[in-house]
Amino acid sequence: MIELDWLPRHPGLAAAITAARTLPTAAERLDAAIRLSGFGRDALATTRLDRLAQEALAETPPPAGWQRRRLAVLGSSTLETVIPALRVAALERRLVLEVTAAPYGQVRQAILGPASPLADAKPDFILLAMDEGAVLPPLPLAANQEEADAAVEAELNGLVTLWRAARQRFGATVIQQTILNTRLPLFGSYEAAVPAAPAALVERLNRRMAQSAATEGVLLVDLDGAAAGSGRAHWHDPVRWHQAKQVLSPAAIPLYGDLAARVIAAACGLSRKCLVLDLDNTLWGGVVGDDGIEGIVLGQGSAVGEAYLAVQRYAASLAERGVVLALCSKNDAEIVERVFKSHPEMHLKRDAIAAAAVNWADKATNLRCLAKTLDLGLDSFVFVDDNPAERDIVRRELPMVAVPELPDDVAHYAATLAAAGYFESVAFTAEDSTRSRQYTQNAQRKELLATATDMEGFLKSLDMQLDARPPANGDLARLTQLINKSNQFNLTTRRYTAEEVERAVNDPEVVVRGFRLVDKFGDNGLIAVIIARPHEQERAALVVDTWLMSCRVLGRGVEAACLCVLAHEAARRGAKALIGEYRPTPRNGMVRDHYPRLGFTPAGPSAGKGGGEASYWRLDLQHFTEPECHIRISE
């Protein structure tokens, strides 16, 4: 119940860790630690994997393309035991966390005190992990509703003060953990009717905390919500509390680490984006090719049929949330299309699915194809298949794809998927809810392109309009999301937190533009971001710190139109030149020639070299002639 049930079991994990320690190089030991962290593991195995990884990381850098973030954990009880679980869960998400913990009980001192250890630690994230003993001193049980409310609000105001101070003083993104409600009920079911009942107070504080966190831009780790879901008795062991002031029972620690790491990973843009579904015995019971459309088990009237329907409902809700859906099934495509069109119990509609690979090719090949069609990385995929053999092959061939272990009974499929937290999110924007429509429109554009004979005619027929106003407050969430998740069309792959983006937007020296593209098929949403600042030495030049674009709009001349916008703005500010920077990563090879293609000339010592170091490019604005493009621009 509090196991990492969606991770596959390793037949001999302890021995595998011992063996991995004897591997000759640090890189091999790190690689083994990363691989083994993808298996179900208890607290001891988690601690050992952390030790293996930490020792290796002291000698070797993380794999190329990984992110590295600093996290400070502040709490009111023993935290040493949970830190390994946080780091290992981050490894599973292509993220190296450098964790510091303040001595316990010193949350306020660390944030508000004069000589804070955090000043040197320079954390990107500060996690506030208090337990119930540190909040809400007891009230007389007879206190009335107003008194109880006032106590909760006073506690909440104290927290908000801490959040704001932590953000302003250290520039960090703050993460608040809900209080694990270990207070015992005094009245039983009548508890909630007594305003000052100890457990009811914590409950209320947690609710208020969640509301305030959302408005304050603070991320939430809902520890109590997770614990209530699986039973708080599994998460908290009073024996452990009395012995060692350890709030979490050892059995819950790996899952706790996962819970917190997924929030941090989500803020770094490392959540999964696409759910790829098998069909037979995953979305319906039976094999449609054998049993026929009428023969599959789906929908009302059969317990099993309703269980499959529940899987479809959950997938459809995820799509509504912005998760991209795709199909990957060994089947006859025509029969499958007929199921979608004519089976009366199909809840999942065909137009909710952005891409389908329904054929007889192997699944790894099909997943690669889907990634290409959708312009998404395989490391953003979750692949759900009832067949253990298929899961095994995909895990072996494509280790970057998340493949949850599924329980025997389809009734638990959706809950397993939910428990894994693959699609953890730190925002829900208007664009998220229209994402699947955008992906479908994009498929239509690709179709038009395939039938168009001349490129110019095609671009003209798209009737594109690019909107490039300075970002407003409401755009920040989406802007940050795009900055943190774009990998391929991204010149420098610099990641910024919401706070940093906000600071840049409000800095009159810095140019920040978010670009929105509309065409005849619909609104593509925010598709590109440029951030430029004055050059440190040559003040009359603007350095392009960040230039990234969604691959959905590749090959449509958007880059040239963005350059026009940037050049106009630079000229308006009296700048004489633009300086572009390209920092190669394993994922951004497609933009190696971005600047020369736009007419920039080599400017840096390493310009033009094959890879590894950054190269610099220059465009003198007096020589700039606007490139031809078929996009109307509104600035």
């Binding site: 302890a14 011992t18 208890d42 607290a43 001891l44 601690t47 012995q243 060692a244 350890q246």
Partner: protein
């Protein structure tokens, strides 16, 4: 309680200690105490206790964890709990 059962618990406990202290050659006997094993501090003691609870499928009482003199006591406690 037979000797073999005792030996089996001792062997499993030794395996746990090898993992906790990351020392594949570590050997422990009934007379081993925390002082004999490098890094057997309070944090690692809890790691041993937690792993033992999980592997042997038992729960220690608050009072029991504090009263252990040596590995022999630990093995005896596990053996007694497993009989119930």
């Amino acid at each position: 309680m037979t000797t073999t059962a005792h030996d089996q618990i001792l062997a499993e406990l030794q395996e746990i200690c090898r993992e906790v202290f990351e020392n594949p050659e570590l050997t422990i006997s009934e007379s081993t105490t925390a002082e004999d094993v490098p890094h057997w501090d309070s944090l690692n003691h809890l790691n041993v206790v937690a792993a033992a609870e999980q592997r042997f499928g038992i729960r220690f009482r608050t009072s029991e964890v504090e009263g252990l003199k040596n590995v022999g006591d630990f093995v005896g406690l596990v053996a007694a709990k497993r009989q119930h």
